[in-house]
Symmetry: C2
Subunit: 346 residues, 2 copies
Amino acid sequence: MNAPSAKLTKQGIRAVAARAGVSTASVSRALNNPDAVSPSLRARIAQAIEAVGYIPHAPARILSSRRSRTLGAIVPTIDNTMFARGIASLQKYLSSVGYMLFLTTSGYDLDVELQQARNLIGRGVDGLVLRGDCHHEGLRKLLADNAVPFINVGIYQPDRPYPCVGTNNEAAAHRAAEHVIELGHRRIGIVSALQRNNDRAGARVAGFRRALAENCLELPPEWHVEVPYTLDDAREAARHLLNLKNRPTAVVCGNDVIAYGVLLEAERSGFSVPRDLSVVGFDDLDWSRHLRPSLTTIQVPTDETWQRAGEYLVRSLAGEQTIMHREIDFSLVVRESTAPPPAIPK
Amino acid sequence: MNAPSAKLTKQGIRAVAARAGVSTASVSRALNNPDAVSPSLRARIAQAIEAVGYIPHAPARILSSRRSRTLGAIVPTIDNTMFARGIASLQKYLSSVGYMLFLTTSGYDLDVELQQARNLIGRGVDGLVLRGDCHHEGLRKLLADNAVPFINVGIYQPDRPYPCVGTNNEAAAHRAAEHVIELGHRRIGIVSALQRNNDRAGARVAGFRRALAENCLELPPEWHVEVPYTLDDAREAARHLLNLKNRPTAVVCGNDVIAYGVLLEAERSGFSVPRDLSVVGFDDLDWSRHLRPSLTTIQVPTDETWQRAGEYLVRSLAGEQTIMHREIDFSLVVRESTAPPPAIPK
DNA sequence: GCTTAGGATGTAACCGTTTTCAGAAAGTGC
DNA sequence: GCACTTTCTGAAAACGGTTACATCCTAAGC
């Protein structure tokens, strides 16, 4: 009808500006840098925002400012307690500092991971959280070309030029193996996760082997089994191991879920843990201390690890200097599933 | 130096356009609607995109087109197998149809949920996936004001005007209770999840109570315990229940994790399941069939539920007509943890 | 051969912010 | 009272795409 009515048709920040009788610049400032605007204006603008029900349009903001206050994360799968916990912790930290998290999954496929990274970069994320240091060769170039900061989490590799935060999986697995060796075991098997595209699993196997080698112990090929992630797979592997004529007296597992499978299968096959077989896990999930027998395992501070990853990126983005390689301590938790080996049969 | 060099400084789509010797409109068309551009041009553009290493800028695209091909989801927590599975399934489906998922968590706090919704709307999501129908009163208004389609997942309420997809929790819990009643139990307790801000938990308790009422069975207050989500909490509740002078012969649990707690605690207290106590769970997580005794429980197709939620929104956004209320069938899985009650003692 | 419909391409306005730059207002010091 | 800072505010140009509209071509219809 008249001039003022035209104003009512405005959208977004302009509607707020019109309502408060100020320019869009002032509204923007009131929002992003409140100190730069006088208290009276700030109040008037706050009121207008409330009245209009204004919600800032993030895409426009990102486009204009070239910063999204959003981090991207790519994990193999969300359906795994370790990652779920880690992501939850990261998300919690990020929201506490006003950042958001854009989460995607790769399904342990490096090509998919690369694609997701492209996706997230296109989305305008300020930084990327990746799992491990086993990536598609194009990923590093992509990150460099687009100047996207990133960090590898869950591993500790101080010798590499890329930032990382995590426990030293090799050392931790070494400790797990030493534990059963100290108990007197000489015939020790390992059920690991699939090592392909999984440097974490690989490092654990390496640490285990090193411990054996240092103690002059043999690892017959049939005592090393690799399994996918499910309980069923772990049980099947355990069945194989337990049915061997010449079976080990102790089994070190690549993670707790695998250990659960070994425990369940041992019980089902009539073996008593730890009397007939010692079992060591890795991760220390909730179930480990509830199980009967409770599980001896390596405790890994997942929450801290992922939060530190967030901290690293946020600080880097703020221009602060921070440590590139941060090691997160693990610890061996001895419970009921390990004991000295049975007396030599013959 | 010269005119052409200026072109080299261009960014994004304009760089691609310059390189291919076409307009930005053509590049955009080649990307979004390939059929609208001639094959030869399409090829030339594809090559230019490759050469420049062009990654479309999603925020700009969203700003301009007013559509993001992104859905938002708000779940209480990601650190819960049910939600993790659901999200994984939803994400998988969405990526198969070219959508992305923006995930946030509310920590079972309705205010936070509302805030996250505002957040996601500001982010430009095309639709929202919510858990249950227990929301902040302002949320409905927010969604309506911004014309954001949404769906409540994990519940089935055909009488309400909002779209939803999920199992009928009331009926499922009723079935669980009936199962133990049919076995001959008359003294039945329940350990439920916290009902506050959790309509799912509430519906399950209601179904349980209805089954009892229909069979003229009493529920002494001390036989109904509510617990938070962890195994430890569940064990404590079970301890309480098992130490009662006058204890139930069967316990229906609000979810499988609670049931695990009851199982563990029963064993620890010297009770034999199902001889001394029958236990029914709800969800049918992985562990349920591996446990000893294996757990009788209600099987809920989580994957299907969440995928359907995605389907509903994607179809709605495509303008297709779809059913607003979709019921997902549950089923009772009878395993080892339930049996007729012990013979009457005296 | 001329008209015309329709497809392929280009031009440029616009999406909702931020931010540079400049101008106005309000203090300061003398 | 005047020149000079220092604050505060506004005008307008990006940011990187999409898309309505205009234009140019080609081929069909007569």
